[in-house]
Symmetry: C2
Subunit: 253 residues, 2 copies
């Protein structure tokens, strides 16, 4: 297999400590390696146009977060399609189109990867939800806003469907992983309060408690979405149920 590498340093001579662990050596010393590098750099000619300007300092940090995000997206994709237990380091690396070592380097351990991916997922979901809210026709129609907030938890399209699957998978993990539970508890508190506020502003029916209504509404829509996920209910049925309850809570349509 490795015929020519068995002899010695590619630049000078032959020491080449034969370490059995890790990547097999090709040079006898760092300086010989530098020599070889400069030779290659010279043969490649000068870089296209802006060699001295170099990359601005922000580029490093940006490239880093982009890579982390790219890897996290692979975690989401695998978790949505085949479950979190299929998201091994190697599968994630392959899904992101990077090497195993890169995943190790950027997240330290598998646990770190899972926690970071959940963090990024929460941010991403918030971003998307806000974008959809901003795209509403009439932001003054509070009932429509309320419906949009609740619809965010239903598998209406492939994106939300995947998000819900990943969310549920992570939830189950969090039951036996305190670090993941932490992320859940510190992230998604204000949903019920938002819904309760909307109900209050939109004019709830007399005698209704917006807070209690919001509690059942949010947890209920999540449960209904889970039912849709594995085919126990149809999406149309869930939307009808939801409409019924919105009509009930906000009679002044």
């Amino acid at each position: 297999m490795r015929d020519e590498n068995l002899v010695g340093c590619r630049v000078c001579g032959a020491p080449l400590a034969t370490a059995v662990r890790g990547r097999p050596p090709v040079y006898c010393s760092r300086s010989c390696q530098a020599k070889a590098y400069r030779r290659r750099a010279g043969a490649r000619g000068r870089p296209a146009a802006a060699p001295p300007a170099a990359a601005e300092p922000a580029a490093h940090a940006e490239g880093r977060s982009r890579r982390r995000r790219q890897i996290a997206e692979a975690v989401w994709k695998i978790a949505a399609e085949r479950g979190l237990e299929a998201a091994s380091m190697r599968e994630v690396a392959a899904g992101a189109g990077v090497s195993l070592r890169v995943v190790q380097y950027h997240f330290g351990s598998k646990h770190g990867l899972l926690v970071s991916a959940l963090h990024l997922l929460h941010e991403e979901n918030d971003r998307r939800a806000r974008a959809r809210m901003a795209a509403l026709d009439d932001p003054e129609d509070l009932r429509a806003v309320l419906g949009a907030v609740l619809n965010e938890f239903l598998p209406l399209d492939e994106q939300r469907r995947g998000a819900l699957r990943v969310f549920v998978a992570y939830y189950v993990r969090s039951l036996t992983d305190p670090a993941l539970a932490e992320v859940f508890l510190h992230a998604s508190q204000p949903v019920e309060q938002l819904v309760a506020g909307l109900i209050r502003q939109a004019g709830a029916a007399p005698g209704t408690d917006p807070g209690r209504e919001a509690d059942l509404l949010v947890s209920g829509v999540t449960g209904l979405g889970m039912d849709v996920l594995h085919g126990r209910r149809t999406l149309a049925d869930v939307r009808t149920t939801l409409d019924y309850h919105l009509d009930r809570i906000l009679p002044a349509h």
Copy 2:
């Protein structure tokens, strides 16, 4: 290690085919093995009192289902405490106090084990729920019956807490495992209909749709129970919310 076993058959002589796979042989043939067995049986003396009566034919089947159940319980326990991904064949065997081979023999494969354990879990939960319903003070108090049905999905005690954890873990698995999804879909349909029927009988407030109320109630109480599981809500808060909605739906307390 195996000093004396290297020579030959314990009864007659020496052939002893040296198979490298599986359990190392000790006898040269089945008949020699039978001889050794009969010798041991003779030395042990006659069994206590009822040797010829033998075991009735049903004992076999009963012993089998008992063993299956014992192993399934180990699956539930592990899944509740450390998640379904911790339920390896070896862990389950250890938890049930049997050998790995016994788990293999009675369930064929890990997938078969998981599916059977889920089946048995559904039966067990039904049994326990019915028992709790039968123990109600006044079976005519329909509101109390309704409350008991819904409370079955809340982690009120260690048993229900574990059941909910296992249930959720299995649900997530079922999203990527059709055989498990099958068990879910064919088992737990009538809950909402039961709740709707109770609401109807108990006298719902005018203008309310018992079916839609039941849908949100059941899915909502499941979601609230999940919130309790990882500490996002307190049990008292959930019960208050539930009481509020029961009062709303059934005003004629």
